[in-house]
């Protein structure tokens, strides 16, 4: 989880990832940030994220992202 937060802060330090839960809905992470995020997450956690996973439910909060990472790691 710490690794995830570090990656997030690296991409966009302005957001408060501990409490924010509408990162996508409120546009706090834009499309390019998502691109970079996906690339870094794939490298850091050895998972493969596809377009199907790119839904707000998976990216609106750090917790949601962590859940997705766990899920994808199992496959």
């Amino acid at each position: 989880m710490e690794k995830l937060l570090a990656i997030l802060r690296d991409i966009n330090p302005d957001n408060d990832y501990e409490s924010a839960d509408h990162l996508i809905d409120q546009g706090l992470l834009d499309s390019f940030a998502i691109l970079e995020l996906v690339s870094n997450l794939e490298d850091a956690f050895g998972i493969s994220i596809t377009a199907t996973d790119l839904v707000p439910a998976n990216f609106n909060s750090a917790a949601a992202m962590w859940a997705m990472i766990q899920r994808l790691s199992k496959d």
């Binding site: 970079e36 690339s39 870094n40 790119l54």
Partner: protein, 510 residues
């Protein structure tokens, strides 16, 4: 039938609301569907067959995909491409046929013996570009598992045909719109009141501002050679304000109408002229098109294995930044070309797409260097002086883009831009030239006053103030005076009927 006609506002809409409310809940969707088909028939007559064909196509293909075994990925992919392909083919033939044939003929003309392709222009059903996007989004959502295929043909049909959205959008997604449309919630006073207020505001923007600018814009762009210098700037400003007032006005009418039925449609405009960057502008202008392109072109492309691999290699060689840029180029190019041609069949639309593609790429490439530079010069990029400067920069960018968009072709658009520098004459502002292009002194006065009102409302919205809430808290006599005044402003100052030239909605040809 037009959203601004007396027939729609005082007959069709009230009768539909009445029928909806009197109908039992489980059949209310039938009222909406019937009304939608009636509306569409009045607008496009027999072309409704295309809408029906499109609806049946997505219904059948959707069900086919739903029945696919999750493991037979190949079959599912074939189906989705058939469904999408049918709609793209429809668009290609109906909307782009003449343009493609024209270009092909120009190329073929290079070989003297080559045949000449026939160019036939077919009638285009209203809203084709909008309901095609909705159809494709439904199929893509099923394919990617975002939604389940719907076995209920009525619900699918209503999603495709809902009369407030079919002509000009907003482009809605299957979830949650289809369910909301089908639910048949009873009308309630709050939604009817708020919805009709938003509708009146939309009418104000469209009829007092946009329709009043129409003769001026038409005049200036019809004779580009005579619209140089000051007039070129006027043309850019006028066509931009006209487009914003027309499109956001019609959208407000649509969202307001839907709200009267208790249905919430997605926002399509969010005070776009307060943007400080190009990407921000496109998150505030024609929002539903932007999110459609993002979800169905940008992410699928940029997340595809090949593009991801490209990006990864670039990242390994030259760092994160470069990797991100390389990964984004092809998807962005696809998005902007799609944006351009979606708007119309013409080189100026492609130019428009290319223009923003270049600007977005530049923004992406120079984001980091600019940030470092600003930090070194101790410029606070969040403070209002910088942001104001950025808004002015954005205004110029948007004005240039809209001028090219509206010009009859790329050459005349560029000529008008050039003339701003070569043919500038301050005298044109005062010697009466401005009054010789279709609108007169009193029109300019109305435009100024109405423009100020529109700006004030947008400022309130940007600050998060809900004007409808604020008005609702006023005492009844004051509140009613406000509402009646808005309606009177539309009735008296609307540019309709005698003394004005008839106007076609700008986005209705799409």
């Amino acid at each position: 039938m037009k959203y601004t006609s007396l027939f729609y506002l005082t007959l069709f809409l009230p009768l539909t609301l009445l029928a909806y409310q009197l109908c039992p809940q489980r059949h209310r969707w039938v009222v909406l569907l019937t009304a939608s088909y009636f509306f569409y028939f009045m607008a496009s007559l027999t072309l409704i067959l295309y809408l029906w064909a499109s609806t049946l196509c997505v219904y059948a293909v959707g069900l086919g995909m739903g029945r696919c075994d999750p493991l037979t990925h190949g079959r599912k992919r074939l189906l989705v491409w058939i469904g999408v392909g049918v709609h793209l083919a429809l668009l290609a033939v109906l909307k782009y046929g003449p343009f493609i044939a024209g270009v092909a003929n120009d190329v073929l003309a290079l070989w003297p013996a080559a045949p000449h392709l026939p160019v036939f222009k077919l009638a285009v059903p209203a809203g084709l570009s909008f309901f095609s996007l909705q159809a494709i989004s439904y199929l893509a959502d099923i394919y990617q598992g975002r939604t389940k295929a719907d076995t209920n043909l009525g619900r699918v049909a209503l999603y495709m045909a809902f009369f407030p959205t079919i002509i000009e959008g907003p482009i809605c997604r299957y979830e949650p719109t289809a369910a909301a449309l089908y639910a048949g919630q009873p009308l309630n006073h709050h939604d009817i009141a708020y919805g009709s207020q938003l509708l009146c505001w939309g009418l104000f923007k469209k009829m007092v501002i946009a329709d009043r600018l129409s003769p001026l814009v038409n005049n200036l762009f019809k004779n580009p050679a005579e619209s140089g210098g000051v007039l070129a700037v006027l043309a850019a400003v006028a066509c931009t304000i006209q487009l914003y007032a027309d499109f956001s006005g019609c959208i407000d009418i649509s969202i307001g109408t839907a709200q009267m039925f208790g249905i919430t449609l997605p926002q399509n405009f969010r005070q776009p002229f307060f943007s400080t960057t190009v990407t921000e502008f496109w998150r505030r202008w024609h929002i539903t098109l932007g999110t459609w392109l993002k979800d169905y072109i940008f992410f699928p492309l940029s997340m595809s294995p090949r593009i991801k691999a490209l990006g990864r290699r670039a990242k390994q060689r030259h760092g994160r930044r470069f990797g991100q840029i390389i990964q984004a180029i092809i998807p962005l190019l696809a998005v902007w070309m799609a944006n351009g041609i979606w708007h119309g069949a013409g080189w100026n639309y492609l130019f428009f797409g290319a223009y923003y593609f270049v600007l977005v790429m530049l923004g992406l490439i120079f984001e980091q260097p600019l940030e470092t530079l600003a930090a070194r010069l101790h410029i606070d990029r969040k403070a209002w002086p910088w942001r104001a400067l950025q808004m002015v920069k954005m205004a110029v960018i948007v004005l240039v883009g809209e001028l090219m968009f509206r010009a009859s072709d790329v050459a005349s658009g560029l000529a008008m831009l050039r003339s701003i520098f070569t043919g500038w004459d301050w005298k044109m502002l005062t010697d009466g030239t401005l009054l010789q292009h279709g609108i007169y002194g009193n029109d300019y006065m109305v435009l100024l006053a109405a423009g100020v009102i529109m700006l004030a409302v947008d400022i309130c919205h940007e600050a998060g103030i809900s004007l409808r809430d604020w008005a609702a808290r006023l005492r009844l006599p004051i509140r009613w005076t406000l509402y009646v005044t808005l309606i009177l402003l539309v009735v008296i100052f609307g540019a309709y009927g005698e003394g004005y030239q008839p106007v076609d909605p700008l986005y209705a040809n799409f």
